[in-house]
Amino acid sequence: MTRAGRTRAGRQHHAGPWTYLVLIVVALASLFPLYWTLVAASTDAHRVVSSPPPLLPGGNLFKNLDYVWHNAGGRGMGVALLNSTLVAGSVTIGTVAFSLLAGFAFAKLRFAGRGVLMSLVVATLAVPAQLSVVPLFILMKRLGLGNHLGALILPTLVTAFGVFFMRQYLVQALPTELLEAARTDGANSLRVVWHVVVPIARPAMAVLGMLTFVQSWNDFLWPIIAMNGATNPTVQVALAGLGTGWSTDWSVIMAGALIGTVPLLLVFVLFGKHIVGGITQGAVKG
């Protein structure tokens, strides 16, 4: 980001033909499986597994899309798409809002126990999700949330990464004098957050929001346990059902995979630059 601009000058060599060749080959290898999902999704059950394999899209794309849209995962991929949007959307809003508040407190407010609490946040980064799926399953059943979308939203409403990310951003981006000025003007904490912190944190909120959305959309282990056999699954659960079901019509399965991937790829193409920035920002400082 800004750092790139600063050090780019002066020392960098121009890339030679070999560099381009290697990078283009790797870029094609990165994109090919995505392209091939589209190709396979547009063929039929026989053509998709014939030799030589099809390399150009066929004419069955809409037929296959139509089929999974109405039939996959019990009530169809359309319902799954809506469910995933609801879950990822709620998780994103919750994570961004709570991370902003906690990150702001850790970055700029003085309070007893701040250091200990921040170390606790960092320590929770290391707790793997797999460790808690069995009790979460039991807990959700007891709360009456078995097979309910709420079971997917509640446990991920906050992330230690989000708090950490926001703290790192606000430590640098938020001038302490600005807070003091707002304070002497008589603004209470919530007004300070709304009128001072939020406007400054907006870029970080956008990046964290996109990362959270991608992660939540692609979450697999917990949804497949919490929503197993559900009639209204998320996209990933519906895809898993397609893959492990008796049907081996790969063209239909690939149509499902296409529906599950395209929304994210769209987000990615539209905001790719910011996501790239977010990943590098979170990583270097993490």
Binding site: G10, V48, F98, F111, A126, P128, L221, K273, T280, A283
Partner: protein, 316 residues
């Protein structure tokens, strides 16, 4: 800061409110994180440990039966130990097969991306596109590519005259294929992390090295890699944790037999074993024991990592 001088009642009230606000609001701001974490992170963590000492059925979760350490002794030396040790071995080999090449390739790619390039944004976005696909979608595509009938991998092998390989059935072939899925999804992500760290390396270090007569390769080895050491350690830790928890790829790669990691459990990981024991065989207590064993493994790995990090720091 504001100290109240006037004796006016209104002012003391405002001061008190102000104090209350500035003392209380930090806790109110961090509370949601800790409340949610306590309920859905910490409590389950401890509860898993407690459950691992019980026999609990998937279908009647409110009744549990104390069995002490039997879930663990069963796992390590009882009837299911065959699956446990197999899954542990597979987790390690799959982890190594996917993590080591992934990070090495990422380091090389980052170095290339750090040159002055045309189409830089396109290349970076293309490399990161696999990150935006899900485990499910990616695994299904690769399952088709490695499919025994009409799969693209075997077709390519046929072009160079090699016989078809039964990818999913073999021990090493299936692990190779699954490792490739992981590598495909995460290499670009790691490359970008390395790239960001590389761009933070001060240019004078390279100039000094160039004046000393170091060629590009030596500059990479003696300037870039040492400067990247903390970032490399970070990615090693993150990918190792990821590899220990590998679940989606082995679960979905085998289609029908996915829940047991292949017909002969040839690529069953600890994550898949936990799912199979808990949510197929209805033994939630034993699944919890698997989970806690994984936790112990992670702690052990963390300890080893910390020791290595300390030695590296001292050596430098």
């Amino acid at each position: 800061m504001a100290t109240s001088t006037g004796p006016g009642r209104r002012q003391t009230w405002r001061t008190r409110l102000y104090r209350w606000d500035s003392k209380g609001s930090p806790y109110a701001f961090v509370a949601p994180f800790f409340l949610v974490f306590a309920a859905f992170g910490l409590f389950p963590l401890l509860y898993t440990g407690w459950l691992s000492l019980h026999q609990v059925s998937l279908y009647n979760v409110s009744r549990s039966h104390w069995v002490g350490l039997r879930n663990y002794t069963d796992l390590f030396s009882g009837p299911p130990s065959r699956f446990f040790w197999n899954a542990l071995r597979n987790t390690i080999t799959l982890g190594a097969l996917s993590t080591v090449p992934q990070l090495l390739i990422a380091l090389g790619l980052a170095h290339l991306l750090n040159y002055r390039l045309r189409g830089r944004t396109f290349l970076r976005t293309a490399l990161l596109a696999p990150y935006a696909t899900s485990v499910a979608a990616a695994t299904l595509v690769f399952a088709l590519i490695f499919s025994p009938e009409g799969g693209m991998a075997n077709w390519l092998l046929g072009l160079v005259g090699a016989g078809p390989v039964h990818w999913e059935a073999g021990h090493w072939t299936s692990q190779f294929a699954i490792a490739l899925i992981v590598t495909w999804r995460w290499t670009g992500y790691n490359a970008l992390i390395y790239l960001a760290a590389m761009q933070a390396v001060p240019g004078d270090l390279y100039e000094a090295a160039a004046i000393d007569g170091a060629n590009r390769w030596r500059q990479f080895w003696h300037v870039t890699v040492p400067a990247l050491r903390p970032t490399i350690l970070f990615t090693v830790v993150v990918s190792t944790i990821g590899a220990t928890q590998l679940f989606g790829e082995p679960y979905l790669f085998g289609g029908q037999s996915g829940h047991q990691g292949g017909a002969a459990n040839q690529y069953e990981t600890l994550g898949v074993l936990m799912y199979d024991q808990g949510f197929r065989n209805s033994m939630l207590g034993r699944a919890s024991a698997v989970a806690w064993t994984m936790f112990a493994l992670l702690l052990l790995l963390g300890l080893v990592n910390a020791l290595i990090a300390r030695r590296l720091r001292r050596a430098h």
